[in-house]
Amino acid sequence: MNQQIDEAQEAEPMETEQSTKKRRVVVPGEVIVSGEDFLPSEGARREGQDILASRFGLAEEAGRVIKVIPITGAFIPRRNSVVLGRVTQITLNGWVIDIDAASSGFLPIDESPRFINKNEMDQFLAIGDVVAAKIWSINVRGIDLTLKGKGLGKLEGGFIFRVSPNSVPRIIGREGSMISLIKERTGCDIGAGQNGWVWVQSDNLDSQIQARKAIEFVSENVHVDGLTEKVEGLLNK
């Protein structure tokens, strides 16, 4: 099942591509490029002749389009992101789920993968249970989640821990390469949510610890080149 969590995540745009695009760190208000030919995208704006950064991050020039990729900060929910969350409340028609964002997520009973009797909701998801869910919509009332999709659902056993949400794309790797490497070597089931929550499960305690260490290593060394080789070395020890 958890193989599938990552497949669901692969649909997301990857920020880890080691492409030939020019990148550098910029501070808010810094001029990235000058000239009429460029178009400001996310995190950038135009002021007269100049394209300026509107936030701290990595400025990227992709042809004429300039954007600033976040490298720090809290999780900002986006549509279609797969997140891990914990059930905090059961209401008449769904579950309230803490996804570590500014507002909590709501999972309506209709968005569960099979029919659930309203009187037996806690048999499917009880308070404290951990789920992998997809953000289905973000509106003024809050964040709506769904469990309909490949690899989504309740996560049984194991443990969860937090890493920086900005390092999650690197933990997953290009087309899931990094996370499948760690899974393969440690024999653990691993799920990473875009909100920075990571779930690890295995029968072997040592390999769980090893998997967690490897993930934390990736999270702390996001900007290092050749990270896959280093993680491999770490796992071979």
């Binding site: 760190v25 501070v27 808010p28 208000g29 509107s54 936030r55 900060g73 500014a102 507002s103 003024v140």
Partner: protein, 231 residues
């Protein structure tokens, strides 16, 4: 006799600046900024849901600043907890920073900024604003620009920049003057202007000129600290 500052600096010299980000691992963004012996640390949390609910604004997120001079930061232990002074400084810091922020993307939320002065030797609000501006950038909050802040003062008739506590207490000649300023970097927009003491109106432009040079140095230090961490 020519005028000489207590610590031998030139009138336009700042104390040595220390700037660093990521000093508080559990915060979404954090920074340390020091002018000599004045050390401020700032932590940013959020955007997160705002409580009490009646303060929520459905059109935009809000900024909430808390400035605190810690009890061990001064020679005579300061009684801990909020005071009239710390409330005032929290408020002016909030006003100094909010013009650069754009929180329209985060309705009903708050961005909490905690500023702690861990060692005080005058100029704590300005060091706090510098630290908070870096911490907000580090937390990835959308902002137009960084904010730089410095205090200018008067020693008798001499206008000097970045006073120490000893200079601030100077009471010869025309008496002590403290003039804290904050400016949006690379613009001519001031977001903080306070005055404690006396200064002739025609000398204010002199103050702004001398401060401008200091702002440039502070901005470079802030920029360097932010970039260093990720290269």
């Amino acid at each position: 006799m020519a005028f000489k500052r207590i610590d031998g600096r030139k009138n336009s010299d700042l104390r040595p600046i220390t700037a660093k980000i990521g000093v508080i691992p559990n915060a979404d963004g954090s920074a340390l900024f020091a002018f000599g012996n004045t050390i401020a640390i700032a932590a940013v949390y959020g955007p997160r849901l705002l409580h009490p609910q009646h303060m929520q604004d459905p059109e935009t997120g809000i900024l909430r600043v808390n400035y605190d001079l810690l009890s061990f930061s001064v020679n005579d232990r300061k009684k801990p907890g909020p005071s009239r002074r710390s409330q005032e400084i929290s408020k002016v810091t909030e006003w100094a920073l909010s013009p650069v922020l754009d929180l329209k993307e985060f309705p009903n939320t708050v961005i909490d900024v905690q500023i702690y002065i861990i060692q005080a030797d005058a100029g704590t609000r300005t060091a706090g604003i510098n630290a908070a501006s870096m911490a907000l950038a580090h937390a990835g909050i959308p902002m137009r620009n960084l904010v730089c802040s410095v205090a200018v003062g008067k020693q008798d008739k001499e206008i000097v920049v970045d006073l120490t506590k000893a200079e601030e207490d100077f009471d010869g000649g025309e008496g002590p003057t403290d003039f804290p300023l904050a400016k949006i970097a690379n613009t001519d927009q001031y977001t903080l202007l306070q005055l404690d003491g006396k200064i002739p109106a025609e000398r204010v432009s002199e103050v702004l000129t001398i401060a401008d040079q200091a702002f440039a140095n502070i901005y470079e230090a802030q920029k360097k600290a932010l970039k260093e961490e990720f290269s």
